[in-house]
Amino acid sequence: MPFMKKLAAAFVTAAVAAVSLAVTASADEPYTGYNYDWWGDPIPSQNGFVVDKVIDGSDLGLGKLDYSSYSSTMQAQMKALAEPSDIFVDQKTGAFYIVDSKNNRLIITDSTFAPENTKVVSELTYGEEFPESRSVIKSTTFKTPRGVYVRTNTDGVKFIFVADYDNNRVVAFDDDGQILMEYTRPSSDVYDANVTFNPNKVIVDSAFNVYVIVPSITQGAVQFSADGTFNGYYGANRVEATAEVIAQQFWKLIYTREQIIAMRRSVAMEISNIDIDNEGFIYTVTENKTAETDVLKKLNPAGTNIFVNLGYDEMTFGDFASRYYKGKNYASAITDVDIDEEGNIYLLDFTTGRVFQYTDECDLLFIFGTKGPQQTQGTQKGTFMSVAAIETYKGKVYVVDSRKNSITVFKQTEFGGIVQEAISLFNEGLYDEAKAPWEEVLRRDANYWLAYIGLGNAYLNQNDYQTAMDYFYRTSRAGYNRAFKSYRIEFIRANFNWILTVILVIVVLLIVWSIVKKQLQKKKAANKGGNS
């Protein structure tokens, strides 16, 4: 039937559109901005970020390193960066730290990426304070480093932490490459004897507690205190309530001890990446296509996810729909998270190569970047092959691609700037001042639903409840609820006399009616009695 055919065609088109929203004909960027509306449908939006430039090893003036340990074909592919896997920006000094995993080195540069500002660290030396056995070796190199973090202590000493994956350690050293601290596999009983210690990512909080992500550990991040002692695990994910887990809970009630021990253990998914914001809250992400719970968590120092109380843990991070297309799973796999100075959250999706920008309240702002088609090998600016890490610095977004061996720099568009301005004003509570930028946003993109919420709040602040309700309608239930609450009180106050009068009249009428009815029945009964 043509109707069914049309329906089928519509479904296929929708699926294709959802999977490959990146296909455009004329736009400058290889991706089209989109956003999700109230119903979770993708709708086109303006781009908030566009490609500024793409940095590879030759821009940094690298490539003079000794490649003799690699085969010649690899050399040709490798250029100067080889599988960079992490990036860190020191917001105060503006120094960039790039982990060049396959070359076993750390590259220190700045936002210009100029060769003269670039420094390579590949060899570290042990200082005096290390015991004999170590100071005999005197120097050490990295072996597949995977993560980097930098923190300056109160004495002004800069600690560079590198997660040295194949050396089974996290190493902290200063600017001169002198090792200050080494964090190795904990000997504690808490740490499972069968589990290796291959640090993948590392962060450090203001008290110099070190949090290490080890891919084989599902109990959370491995936490060390400043002196290198193992403190336990931090911020484990919850076990996802799948049908299997629920069934197991049931069988556990019946089974014997031995049977329970023999049962397949359901463990939480491991944390894949971690970041810390200015206020000391730690964010973790879970990179797993099937993960639905705890994809993004915001942890307080006790390791509790504070998104749970706010209800944000129920949200879908990354792309919503179209998980399967032609037998392939296109679900988002969030591989890295970054928090910028304004508190915006950036999530990097490995599956689609997209960056999802959220406000600190987890409202989706912009989606940008894309995975290039297989043929172009990600050579087009703004497309990726295998995204690895994301950082922000002064409004620019830096995305590291470990197969393109490059860093793509995104800059904010004018539209993105207006949205950002409005949100900053909004977060400061300056709802009225935020009105003008929000209106400008709507003038440019009438589908931008966050603008409706912003304007709704502005009108709510001016006690114009009805307009606020109009703006909140189908954009924010919480906002509508607040506006409607005030509107209802106002309405009842204004019309109290009328409402009371109507209720009184109805009550009186009901009483009169019941009396009349009774008397009629009496009369009827009397008539009947009289007749008989």
Binding site: M1, D41, Y473, R474, Y480, N481, F484, R488
Partner: protein
């Protein structure tokens, strides 16, 4: 059982609603079945299910309003109800049920009344209640459903003259019968659609041949 009842046809649904236990006995005794009244209730069921999707306040409404299609509402109200009647009749005639198709139709329709009332209350209340007061909405919704289910059990028990356990078993198997009916209906529809497509493609083929 009251033998002095002499109600007009339209009052019977309200009477059984207020007397869930013995109301249907009275109805059966007085032969208060009326198809017109029953049809009015079924159509009201359809209208209210549409209204529930369209008129419920924003704070309590989860309907996808970008596309409005009447057919799902029709099939989840009228078609579902008719399937229930047909399924129940075809099952209970085999198991000594005394109800005729007409009787089953009428008593089942009458049993929907509390649900319809609760839905109307919910639709109106959802337009002036806040989210924190949503408990009232849930309360009325469940009250209506539970009351209707009780009435439906009572109706089935009386119309077929079953014991209560037998009624419950009959209801469970009616649901199974409904599933089978709907499955067969969908199967039939799909097959006929394929036949139609086949005939239509032959027709178009022939038309091309002749036009050349």
């Amino acid at each position: 059982m009251r033998f002095d009842l002499d109600l007009p046809a339209w009052k019977w649904p309200f009477y059984v609603m207020r007397h869930p236990i013995e109301g249907y006995d009275d109805l059966r005794w007085k032969k208060g079945y009326n198809m017109k009244v029953a049809w009015v209730i079924v159509i009201a069921f359809f209208i209210i299910s549409v209204a529930s999707a369209q008129l419920t306040g924003f704070l309590f409404n989860n309907t996808y309003v970008k596309v409005f299609n009447i057919i799902p509402y029709f099939s989840s109200s009228v078609i579902l109800f008719l399937t229930w009647v047909v399924g129940n009749w075809s099952l209970c005639t085999l198991f000594d049920g005394e109800g005729t198709m007409k009787n089953i139709f009428c008593v089942s329709a009458y049993a929907l009344l509390p649900y319809l009332f609760s839905e109307v209350i919910v639709i109106i209340a959802s337009n002036f209640l806040l989210r924190t007061e949503g408990g009232f909405i849930t309360f009325f919704r469940y009250l209506g459903i539970v009351w209707s289910v009780v009435l439906m059990i009572s109706a089935m028990k009386t119309v077929h003259q079953y014991s209560i356990p037998k009624t419950l078993v009959a209801i469970v198997f009616t649901v199974v019968a409904m599933a089978i009916i709907l499955f067969l209906a969908v199967l039939l529809l799909t097959l006929f659609q394929q036949v139609f497509v086949f005939v239509y493609s032959i027709y178009t083929e022939l038309m091309y041949r002749f036009s050349i």
